[in-house]
C-alpha cells in the first residue's frame, strides 16, 4: 500500500532523509526505532505533506497514487493519519466540533453523506470507550490544557474516529503512564483488522510488547540501516544503538 523509494528530503536546506527505502503492505505493523534526531519525525512529516519539508528526490506511492503530488488534506482524506509527536492546541474549538468537521470532510471525499449531530454523537461515544476517554474531553478545546498523556490519548481517539488505512504513530507512547500505555495499545490493537496498516515510531521496546510489530526497522542518519523481526527491538533495548552506528559509520568510512 505504501512504497517509498530512494527518498531524499531536507528541511531548511539541511538534508535529513538520505535515500530511504521502505515498504508497507496492507495489515502490517512496522516499528521504526532509532536515535534522537535520526529523521523519524521528518519521515512522518514528509508522508503527511508538511510544507517545510522539501522532497529532493525519490518517490512515494500510496495505493498506486503519487503521494507527493497530493495536498496534506487530500492525503488525510485518502486514509493517511499521523498521530503527532507534539499535538497542537486549537483554543476555542471543541474537540467534538473539530472532529465532526474532520470526519465529515473525509466522508465527503468518499461521496458519503455527512453525519448529523445525533449519528456523530453515537460514533463518538463508541470510540471514546475504546480509549477510555473522559466524557468532558470532547467538549474541551482541542488539546488545550491537556496533559501530555491526555494529548496522546486524544490522538488515538481521533484515529479511531477517522478510521484511516495507514496510521503513523510518532512516539505516541512517550508521556503515557503504565495504565494509559495499556489503554492506548488496546485501542490500537482493536483497530488492527488485517487491512489497516501502522507505522509505529517509538524509543521503547515496552510498547512493542503491547502492539506487536511484524517488522522492526532502525532509522539512522536518514536511512533505514537495519530491519528485522520483532526480536530486533529486544536486542536494541539490551544493546543500545552503538553497535549499529559503528557498523554503519565504518562502512561509510571504508
Amino acid at each position: 500500500m505504501l512504497s517509498i523509494k530512494d527518498l531524499v528530503a531536507s528541511v531548511e536546506e539541511k538534508q535529513i532523509l538520505k535515500g530511504l527505502n521502505f515498504e508497507v503492505k496492507p495489515g502490517e505493523v512496522h516499528a521504526i526505532m532509532g536515535p534522537n534526531g535520526s529523521g523519524k519525525s521528518t519521515l512522518a512529516s514528509v508522508l503527511a505533506g508538511r510544507e517545510e519539508y522539501e522532497v529532493n528526490s525519490g518517490s512515494v506511492t500510496f495505493n498506486g497514487e503519487d503521494l507527493l503530488e497530493m495536498s496534506p488534506e487530500d492525503r488525510a482524506r485518502a486514509g493517511i493519519f499521523l498521530a503527532f509527536q507534539y499535538p497542537v492546541e486549537i483554543p476555542g474549538v471543541s474537540n467534538a466540533n473539530f472532529l465532526k468537521t474532520a470526519v465529515n470532510e473525509v466522508r465527503k471525499s468518499k461521496g458519503l453523506e455527512p453525519l448529523d449531530s445525533k449519528q456523530f454523537l453515537k460514533v463518538m461515544q463508541e470510540k471514546m470507550k475504546l480509549v477510555e476517554m473522559d466524557k468532558t474531553m470532547t467538549q474541551r478545546s482541542v488539546n488545550e490544557g491537556f496533559s501530555g498523556g491526555e494529548k496522546k490519548r486524544n490522538e488515538i481517539f481521533q484515529m479511531a474516529m477517522l478510521e484511516p488505512s495507514l496510521a503513523i504513530l510518532d512516539e505516541t507512547d512517550s508521556g503515557l503512564d503504565i495504565d494509559a500505555l495499556r489503554i492506548v495499545s488496546n485501542g490500537v490493537n482493536a483497530l488492527r483488522d488485517g487491512k489497516r496498516s501502522f507505522i509505529v515510531i517509538t524509543h521503547y521496546q515496552r510498547l512493542l510488547d503491547y502492539i506487536v510489530p511484524d517488522h522492526v526497522h532502525v532509522l539512522y542518519k536518514g536511512r533505514i540501516v537495519k530491519s528485522g523481526p520483532k526480536e530486533l527491538a529486544l536486542e536494541l533495548e539490551e544493546k543500545g544503538y552503538d553497535w549499529i552506528k559503528e557498523e554503519v559509520d565504518s562502512s561509510v568510512n571504508a
Partner: protein, 481 residues
Amino acid sequence: MSEDLKILDEVTNSEYKWGFVSNIESDNAPKGLSEDIVRFISAKKNEPEWLLEYRLKAYRHWLTLTEPTWPNVTYPKIDFQDIIYYSAPKAKPTLNSLDELDPEIKSTFDKLGISLEEQKRLANVAVDAVIDSVSVKTTFRESLGELGIIFSSFSEAVQEHPELVKKYLGSVVPYTDNFYASLNAAVFSDGSFCYIPKGVRCPMELSTYFRINSAGTGQFERTLIVADEGAYVSYLEGCTAPMRDENQLHAAVVEIVSHEEATVKYSTVQNWYPGDKDGKGGIFNFVTKRGICLGNKSKISWTQVETGSAVTWKYPSVILKGDNSVGEFYSVAVTNNMQQADTGTKMIHLGKNTSSTIISKGISGGRSQNSYRGLVKIAKGAVNARNFSQCDSLLLGDQCGAHTFPYLEVNNKSSKVEHEATTSKVGEDQIFYCNQRGISTEDAVGLIVNGYCKEVFNQLPMEFAVEAQKLLAISLEGSVG
C-alpha cells in the same frame, strides 16, 4: 455547533452574496445639505416643532465643526453636498399584514434570508425592518404592547410617544458630541425606538435589520433604547448592504438608557459592503453608540461583530453613573483586503463600585489595518471601581497591521484596572494539524478564527452567533496565502 460545517461549506468561494440592488421607487430629497433640507426632512415626517428646532440647532452646530482626523484610518474626503439626505420607499408604511408589503421589498427580504413570515412563525423575534430611511413593517407589536413595551420605528415613536422621545433624545449623545453625531442629529432619517417599562422583562429578542438601498443615499439612523427600573431587554441589530461602486456614508447614533437595576444587552453583527479586493467601493461607517447606566445596579452590555465596511470608526461606550453599575464590551472586528477599522470602547466610571469588562478580538488579513482604541476612565468619586480589559490581535499574513491604543485615566486609589494584550498569528502548525485531519486550509482558518472569537460569540444569542460565524468565514476568504 453542528452548524459550523454547514456554514463553512456554504460560504466557501462565495462572493459577497448579499450584494444586489432592488428596484424600489424612491422619493428622494434633492442632493446636498442646507437648512431647507433639514426642514424638508422634518416636514416629510410630519414632525412637531420642537424636533425641527432640535434638528436645526444640531445643523447650525455641525456647521462649526470639522471632521475628526485622529482615527488611524485614511479615506477620500467626503463631499457632504453630494449626498442625498432623505429617501423613502413609495409603498405606504402603514400595513396591517405582511401581504400588503411591496412585493419588491418582500423579495429583498427573501434574498437576505429574512422572510418575515418565517421569522414570525418560527423565531421568537420581532423584526422591525428598515429599508432605506423609512420603517416598512413592524411585527409583534401588539403582543409586546400588552406588556407596555414600545418597539417601533423612531418616526412612529415621535408621533405616538413624543414625551418619551423628547425626554431621552440626545440625553446620552448630545448633538454637540462629535462631527458625525451632530450631522446625524440634523438629518437622521429613521431608526428604532424601544421602551421597556418598569419591572418588565422583554420576553423576546428585539431585532432590526438595516439596509442601504438607494445609490448615493447617506444613512443616518437614530436608535433610542430605554429600560426603566428593573427592566430587561436584549436588542439585536444586524445589517447587510448591496454591492456598490461608490463610497457610501453611514453615520448612525445609538443611545441607551438603563435605569435602576435595569439591563440592556445590545448585540450587532455588522456587514456593510467592505469594497472589492482593491478597496474600491464600500461603506464608510462612522457610528456613535453610547449607553448610560443611570441607576444603581444597572447594566449595559455591548456585543459587536464587525466584518464589513471599507472604513469603520466606532466606539460603543458606557457611562457608569449609578453605583454598582456594570458595563461590558465584547467585540470581534475583522478586516481583510484593504479594509480599515478603528474601533473600541470607552468605559467611564462615575459611580461607586462600578465595574467594566472589555474583551476585544481583532483579526486582520490581506493589507488591512485594524486598530483597537479603548478608554477606561475612573473618576475621583468612583470608589472601588474595577476594570478588566483583554485586547487580542490575530494576524493572518504579514501585510496587515494590528494596533492597540489603550488609554487609562485612574483618579482614585481604591480602584483597580487590569489590561492584558496579546498579538498572535494563525499558526502554520495549527493549520497543518487541521489539514492532516482532512480539513482544507480555508476551513481551518475559519475554524481557528471562530475558536479565537469564542468568548465573544458566546455572548450572542444563538441564531446571531451562527450568522456571525458565517460572516467571519465569508470575510476571511483568501486572507491566508
